[in-house]
Symmetry: C2
């Protein structure tokens, strides 16, 4: 029973605090799958609240898919699932502004199938053997041409094929970061990277993002005091803010990396498209002195389920990162590598990208103007100039967790901003991602937010539902 | 020049010492790709040897593919490549007892192609989306049936699909092992696992292997003193020794895990076949108390380039390991997962395995009897009762590194035993792996070893080539 103990804070709804506490216990594995939660009365007595408060907490946990009731037995923790609990809520036409999965209508399925069959026919058994090196020669050559279009001059020896950008972050970390090394990150940033750095025992130091990229002033101050091995950045259309670095800041960051002798880990998922920016060049294209480790993801511009990506690696780091790749999964499947090669070479890769750029740019612009028009008077919207993400700020005194829970019930899923900060200091931001939603749904989703925003603002200040006759649950 | 400094030991050929030193500098990244090695005369003066000694060391490095000469310029470090340098030696009919790559003639290419096309037709776009969970439901269900045949009773919730067994080791380590945690391993063991544990900052403690499995006596003694989080084992046809645990030891190990509260990480790559053992059951099939984390590889029994495998995970660890998988590469490609599913379900998986068992058993028995017959009087051969690996012991005073270098020149590649020990205390063992060689080549390879063994024994004692008129290089 000990683990269920919690100190309730008075300025926040109690059942939400209990709900969060149990959610955390489940996340940390301190309450196991199929474990029974304490009986309502016993728990209520234990932490000195009304029975009804526990009931409400359990109901919310059930709604969110964490637990389930078994009649006559009690409430039990449900099966483990890393997926966002919201996927379990049975609202068929939920708008998913929380998903980074590009919508499948854009997948070039037919051509890619043809490419797979070319690989099977032309390469036969060889694609099913171990491949212990940097990956397919042909694919790496082809990728050099692709990178050249992005003004990155490299050669295939510098290219390591990886099983997606997440693996890129993971193996760079594994190859370079030792226990207690320092890693700088943008704040906010991609949570999947944060977790990798922390899991390796790195000390993570966040540097705030401004409207034109990372805060160079604060970065310099920190650099005077502490030496990072690495800074992890997304210089174009950052996740979650959508912000791009100015050309000045891109160059400045490289300059600082040279001066203070650290590496820049660039995570590029969508610099292929200009959107409304004047400079969508990867940082790597400005890197004349081998300070940038460049990860290119194909998850947003092709198909995420392929799990393929590349790293362009400064020569002195290649051995370590190759070792890290090898010790992680030996190699990326030959079938995937060779299919990717044939697809890029024989199926109009550049036309495909141009077409996709049109679709994405239209979606981006429409969303941007809708957000400004419909929510701009009540909420602050980050200065994105492209991409798939918009970061939105609630007024002071409101919580994105509350907003998330409130909006789910209205049929819109957003991602609470706490997900993108290392320390949950400020819980006022949320992210809207439009990868998985079409124009029609975007309009519908933003309209739902617009229509319900006043209700949220009226009743949810300081996490305390203002007493009224309204029944929320 | 500092890094080139080395202290020469008198009881070992000097040029070999220099060769090893430079090889290590390259491996550690202290000498970079394309870096020029010191000029011969300068280097010779620096460490006080004859010019000829440096020449011989450089020649050997070149032969092994580490460096290349550029006429008029000097000797330069060659492109980085994790592959064993021996692959570069241009002997076309080299016998590769060093490769664990199953020979491609055994790959069920046509049926697997058909399975891939089933996946493309039936599942379409869905296999190219993110898949953030434990992996394909259908595949996990199918795998439960397969595991049932191995007397492992589990359910699909316990199964995590992984991108090969190496990833299995990596994510279990990532999920469970923190800096300075203790991991026990068999000695000798699989090097790819050792590296993962050490890279995470774990303290690795080796427990010797005996003819019937791990040394339970020593294991108990260690357990009295130190508490491991994990022990990493291959209870059937171990790599590199080929040794299997007796049923008694299998049960005993589980008993100890319960008593001392640690987990067993079982790496199973070929328990599907009985060979000459009376008990090829996985440890997991004896595990009634959820102490075994069971990794099943398909690299040796299907095709390694697929990069697919599974872990059967005790319930209380699932969340952590699922997180580790997610943060490593999000998921295994849907295309690979679904193709595997259709292959197992519709293409006579069991018959395929039975047929493969016949081929492997024949190869195993033939190799075993040849080794005994042709080398048994001079060398000790480990008590394997099946599998693909044989571990052989040279007489005292001989080095497997020397043997490796000697045999490469005769046309046979073996793997020096140092590869499988954490501390290179004893360098007398080597591994013969027959995955990639057919019967004819096995006979030829063992005959070459037989024919040259006396020469090696005569001239290579204590690493010092006995002076004679023979010219080895």
């Amino acid at each position: 029973m000990d683990k269920y103990k919690l100190e309730l804070v008075s300025d926040n709804s109690k059942y939400i605090q209990i709900y969060n506490h149990i959610k955390n216990l489940i996340a940390k594995g301190e309450i196991k799958e199929h474990e029974k939660l304490p009986p309502i009365r016993k728990f209520a007595d234990y932490i000195a609240v009304n029975n009804a408060t526990i009931v409400k907490a359990y109901e919310l946990l059930e709604k969110e898919g964490y637990v389930h009731k078994i009649v006559g037995s009690g409430t039990f923790v449900s099966s483990l699932n890393i997926k966002k609990s919201t996927n379990k809520i049975d609202i068929e036409d939920m708008i998913h502004f929380d998903s980074g999965n590009p919508s499948r209508e854009m997948f070039p399925i037919d051509n890619f199938k043809a490419a797979i069959n070319m690989a099977l026919e032309k390469d036969g058994a060889s694609i099913f053997e171990y491949d212990e090196g940097k990956g397919s020669n042909e694919l790496r050559e082809e990728l050099c041409l692709y990178l050249k279009d992005k003004r990155i001059n490299t050669n295939k020896e510098n290219i390591q094929i990886i099983s997606g950008a997440q693996q890129g972050i993971d193996i760079v970390c594994k190859g370079l970061i030792n226990y207690s090394d320092v890693v700088f990150v943008e704040e906010p940033t991609y949570n999947g990277a944060l977790e990798v750095f922390k899991s390796r025992g790195a000390k993570v130091i966040p540097i705030p993002m401004l409207q034109d990229g990372i805060d160079i002033g604060i970065l310099k101050l920190k650099l005077e005091k502490i030496k990072p091995k690495l800074i992890y950045v997304m210089p174009n259309f950052q996740n979650p803010t959508g912000i791009s670095y100015s050309t000045y800041k891109k160059k400045k960051l490289i300059e600082l990396a040279e001066k203070y002798n650290f590496y820049i880990l660039e995570d590029d998922f969508i610099s292929d498209f200009a959107f409304d920016s004047s400079d969508n060049r990867p940082l790597k294209s400005y890197d004349t002195n081998n300070r940038v480790i460049y990860i290119k993801s194909f998850s947003k511009i092709l198909m995420p389920g392929l799990r393929i990506g590349i790293i362009d690696i400064p020569i002195e780091l290649q051995k370590k990162i190759l070792w890290a790749k090898y010790s992680s999964d030996i190699s990326t499947p030959g079938l995937i590598q060779k299919s990717m090669y044939y697809y890029m070479k024989y199926f109009n890769w550049n036309n495909y990208l141009k077409n996709l750029e049109k679709i994405y740019t239209e979606k981006y612009r429409k969303t941007k103007s809708l957000l400004d028009e419909k929510l701009g008077d009540k909420l602050k919207i980050s200065k994105s100039i492209g991409g798939l993400n918009f970061f939105v700020e609630l007024p002071r005194g409101y919580s994105s967790q509350d907003f998330y829970e409130f909006m789910v019930k209205k049929g819109v899923c957003i991602t609470p901003g706490t997900y993108f900060f290392d320390n949950i200091m400020d819980d006022r931001f949320f992210r809207i991602n439009i990868a998985n939603t079409n124009l029609e749904d975007i309009i519908r989703g933003i309209t739902i937010i617009e229509n319900n925003l006043q209700e949220f603002i009226t009743y949810y200040k300081n996490g305390e539902y203002i007493r009224s006759n309204k029944i929320f649950y």
